[in-house]
Point group: C3
Chain length 360, copies 3
Amino acid sequence: MATVRELAALVNGELEGDGDLEISGLNALDLAKAGEISWLADLRLTKKLAACQASALLVPRLPPDTTELPVTAALIRVLNPGLAAIKIQRFFLPEPFMAAGIHPTAILGAECLIPAEVKIGAQAVLGARVRLGAQVSLAPGVVVGDDVVIGNEVVIHPNVTIYPKSIIGDRVIIHSGSVIGADGFGYVIDETGRPHKRPHQGIVRVEDDVEIGANVCIDRATFGETRIGRGSKIDNLVQVGHNVVVGESSLLVAQAGIAGSTSLGRRVLIGGQAALAGHLEIGDGARIAGKSGVRSNQKAGAVVAGYPAIEHKKWLRVCAVQVNLPEMSRQLRELRRQVAALAANNRQDPPTSKELEKDE
Amino acid sequence: MATVRELAALVNGELEGDGDLEISGLNALDLAKAGEISWLADLRLTKKLAACQASALLVPRLPPDTTELPVTAALIRVLNPGLAAIKIQRFFLPEPFMAAGIHPTAILGAECLIPAEVKIGAQAVLGARVRLGAQVSLAPGVVVGDDVVIGNEVVIHPNVTIYPKSIIGDRVIIHSGSVIGADGFGYVIDETGRPHKRPHQGIVRVEDDVEIGANVCIDRATFGETRIGRGSKIDNLVQVGHNVVVGESSLLVAQAGIAGSTSLGRRVLIGGQAALAGHLEIGDGARIAGKSGVRSNQKAGAVVAGYPAIEHKKWLRVCAVQVNLPEMSRQLRELRRQVAALAANNRQDPPTSKELEKDE
Amino acid sequence: MATVRELAALVNGELEGDGDLEISGLNALDLAKAGEISWLADLRLTKKLAACQASALLVPRLPPDTTELPVTAALIRVLNPGLAAIKIQRFFLPEPFMAAGIHPTAILGAECLIPAEVKIGAQAVLGARVRLGAQVSLAPGVVVGDDVVIGNEVVIHPNVTIYPKSIIGDRVIIHSGSVIGADGFGYVIDETGRPHKRPHQGIVRVEDDVEIGANVCIDRATFGETRIGRGSKIDNLVQVGHNVVVGESSLLVAQAGIAGSTSLGRRVLIGGQAALAGHLEIGDGARIAGKSGVRSNQKAGAVVAGYPAIEHKKWLRVCAVQVNLPEMSRQLRELRRQVAALAANNRQDPPTSKELEKDE
């Protein structure tokens, strides 16, 4: 429990209304009950407030006309209500690290470096020479290969596999079923058409503050490293090929796939089920719409969609016309008929001198 | 072994032919040998009967002309041969629950409620306060988080992960590698472009009689619950985002993806690799073709395809025209040339009064 | 360490330059340092040699003008530098089988046949009557069902699940999280719209020399078998439905999906995120471009793209025109206006006898 005044102070907000109200937790606008706080991410959602039962609300500081919000709840005005909501959510639901130690059924290889403050779950298996930072949590069923290095405050959920020599930064979260560092898809075809496997001697490096969803695959490099840049977030079932580089703070939405050796800049957004061909360069801040297929380099700030991907605005116009294709085809047939008739008709007139010239 | 007469009684069918034949099992039309029974799902497949060696066949009851089926096998006429085949298959291959108890290497957290009739495999790990119904089978390597509730007669295959607080109904089947209840993909971007993780305090609820394929991901809700409705079936590698609601008896084919907060009605069909954007409402009985991308709400009974998805019949017509685009483009160029020539020609005639008016 | 002369002998190559140079390993063109060898897969990449620091290079034997390569490195001329590079890579990084035996925490069912030369990792679980060939490596967390047969020199990475009765050939590699033999997606809908599960009594057969990536799903057959042909390679997150047959030496790129009962010939290439409908026949050597959707049979050697997939060259032309659709639509509107004006104009002339006939 905390008062609205205390929560306002926590998020550096301006209080309007009863600061003495006791708040028990944060909840979504449509689920919040009396005694809870919620947030209005965007003034365009104001109409949702009518049914909102929250006792307090985080609302945007500007513009001034927000004073007219149709609510009786106490208000806390902040620059970014979404961010402030996260802060308050963590206040009510703290997840302090519990140094439960190493479960007796966990198996550790030779020469591992494990700090005292650690939580290694039942049936987890660590290879040889694994090094863990402080306050690492490895859930049950996690398998960590030889020579893996894991930073501080990392959380690895159940049944994740990390192949040998992978490097995982600080505060990384990896959800269940993900596979870090499997061999990439690299074969040489011989003269009889048989593929021969290229050994993959590179690694995967996951930088600080990355979150990786469930059942994601990030392949190790053929040589060198596959790299996920600091602060990037990867959704479930995403495929990251060998030698891919993802820049900082990029977002890869579910089921997206990035083929080998493609390089993303910072703050790139890859929509769900989008695919990027191999050996491409995608500039900072580029946005690739869901289900797109990108076959060429993209400049910083590019916004593309479709397959092959084109400028997003252009794609929208193409889509709008595309549904009329049957009608366009019909019109085109009709026009050809009409023009042929007109031409035939014209030819019945005495030809002009210009026409005569052309005919020669 | 059972006689054809006994099998006919089992499925409430009308027997034609030798009811005393002994049958050893059910098999596919093209694989069945003498002594086995098979089924003809649809009279349009009748031509497949020529090579069929089965000694007995489940066939549709109607229409009357099916009496002319070109086989010597004994026939059992039923309303739905496919359903009857399942019944007979289960008769020959019963899978009675084996209460093998708790394997000594399985690890159970504090205060779990485990009935005597249970099968918990080697290396399975249950968190604290897990509650299991009767006749639950948890395979080796399954990890169940704290406070999970699992109903009766549930089968969880190896290496599945169920995150804390998930609720699993009766007779649910979950195949290997699936992840139930991982955090959704929810971040707030700050003014510097860095994404901040929103804690996910909601849950996943899987209702009765749901089957979930292998390596599926169903994310927990941000707040509230993600819900898979009673009797729905989910194929492999499907992504179900946070706060999605799937209605009863819906089918999600392999590699489909549903973005956050989208809601499906009953008996919805989502084809393979189809994608649904977030916050949509899809009506009862809607059918989304494979590989479609749905960006707007769909009415009950809608049948759509393409990306962006349009009415399926319209999409087929668009596809038929689309392949002619190069030819259409050529014809359009040619027409423009012809029309320009006609116009030039016409202008050499004395202009009509109407034309003169237009020019002013 | 080996001399360039020794390496040339190893790959049956022609040496040019200093054969006494000591080489410590193989590396990529852009990463190789002095003392390392690299390879030039293709003469079109010759411009990359400028920055290359490798002391030796595998280069194509032909054509003769390759003698002009702009490098000071020792050269080894071979027919296929990529294949030769693999051979040299394996020379420097041998991965001899280590018969570590059965880890004490591994659990084996009754009546398993396990050769002495084996490596079964911690927490692995084998069902009853599992048969392993020589030099099999089962990593930690692997679960193998009852009656599975595994050939010689097979490597199964952590957290793989193999369902009962699956058959795995010699030298197969399966990466983490993959699921072999889960039930296919097969239901019969009853008259109320409820789906009923068809038991899957078939199996999966993986032939010799197959490699399966991470988080792949290969479903067991309804009846009979799902089969992955000898030497085929499957990338991460691929879906292979029940009763699919993949021919020899085929390549399935990441996130591709093949629906039930479709059959691929030999040396078929399925691009990333491509989808094949069920019950299709795809001929030998067919190439399905990434993100394609194939809804019809394909002849041997077919090269297709798009959805629905068409001939690849045609698809490229369609794509080139498609982006001009908004302009084509505008031109079509303009033409219709012009032709209407021309027709109106013509009708002001006295009609010809031919026109009069048409009007009747």
